[in-house]
Symmetry: C2
Subunit: 286 residues, 2 copies
Amino acid sequence: MNVFVVGIGLIGGSFVKDIKAKLPQVTVYGIDSNPEHLEEALTLRLIDVKSSYDDLHLADFVMVSIPVDVVLKELPIILDKVNDECVVCDAGSTKELVCATLDDHPKRRNFLACHPIAGTEFSGPSAAVSGLYSNKTNIICEVEKTAFKLQEKALGIFQILGMRIRYMNPKAHDKHIAYVSHLSHISSFMLGKTVIEKEKNERDIFDMAGSGFESTVRLAKSSPAMWTPIFEQNKENVVETLEEYIQNLLDFKELLLKEDYKGIYDEMNNTNRIKSILRGIPINKK
Amino acid sequence: MNVFVVGIGLIGGSFVKDIKAKLPQVTVYGIDSNPEHLEEALTLRLIDVKSSYDDLHLADFVMVSIPVDVVLKELPIILDKVNDECVVCDAGSTKELVCATLDDHPKRRNFLACHPIAGTEFSGPSAAVSGLYSNKTNIICEVEKTAFKLQEKALGIFQILGMRIRYMNPKAHDKHIAYVSHLSHISSFMLGKTVIEKEKNERDIFDMAGSGFESTVRLAKSSPAMWTPIFEQNKENVVETLEEYIQNLLDFKELLLKEDYKGIYDEMNNTNRIKSILRGIPINKK
């Protein structure tokens, strides 16, 4: 089997790392607009062959793991070049626009819209890790628009990587993911900004910050090139989550100003049940 | 040496766990208003003896690790009862009010105002872990008000636990810690609240949330009983950090509404340097 990965960074690199470990008979072809990343992926043995779109007719499976704005331009071209038995998956954090863009594509049946809920705040081929997808959720949208045999082929691979599958429509995906992923990134980036702005002498942050701060600003290390187009494509949902978040912060500030400490206790106590919710989330041990 | 711990939860429990491991000749006396916690601490061998204030005259070192509102009531009583050679340390996340409260105490020289920057989101004796204080910063305030020999005694113990010492005045401590600790807790609690409110069907959070969300809401598991009085005592600084944070979130929302994606990219890119700052923070491996 020939597996192609278009965009060989954290997501694509971790994907083929596990494929190569679990399916040694597979040949992995890498395609990347950055020749250094491609070379690095070869050196790291994430891929077997440096490749280009000219070879795509050889592909049985294509994983497209590139920023969501580039996906919109590249996926139609990739689909044009693959054979009828090939399934092409994306891994983007927004699903509505990519599904709409490909809706009329003559090879729509070869595309499976995916969002594996997995990642770290790092990027590039060297960030690839084994087992990134194990026990993680893969959200698949508009599954009925993909040819049945090609769904089967993709699901077989996801099963080998240990992923749980969940089906959603693209609109619901983008709405929910704004809450549980996109908003977290903004809260983290703005927290980092607030502290950096205030603590001009960065030595002070270094010395006084603990693991709690590190945890809440971890996502502020994420790639702007990846995240800007996500926020662009999911603007409406993200603005809605931001407004609710800001309102909750304003309410908390109001409780403080009114010295309503019973109210503050209750706010935190009610939110403590996040404990039982989080117990279900598989965590990356890094 | 007789070490007393008043409040045998995560902070006090982890403290004496390391003391007992590194200084086996020490006898650890536990005092707690919750008899179940005290019994649990004995079973877990965090303490050697269940004790009370009546024994405090025997103490060489007292670690007071109780919520910052209770500290204000209990520390004067504890100081009244200790002998002249005993040093009493607190571990609270606010320093201005406790220092002001004890300023005129006849035994002020026996008190060392401390804030070890260490902890997890868990609480109670069972949350105590080994090595919690290793390579962590301990901020000491108004060191000049503590008797020199008693400073030395406390610093000796902190050194054995592997802590770095940093001296600050209480006002500066409370201002900076609002940024690098207290604000993180509010951002995390309100993020948790926003998502829980929206996702009434909690199964959806469970399935779609990844490790990024887990990281940003981790602190929302923290104890309301511990955090309410911290926010109360540090109200002014906390309100200031909250206002700046909310303003940054509003600015980000404005960039989104204006579709200024260059601006959004730049915001994230500028904040990415948090990477190099965070590299210096020792993380709890749990």
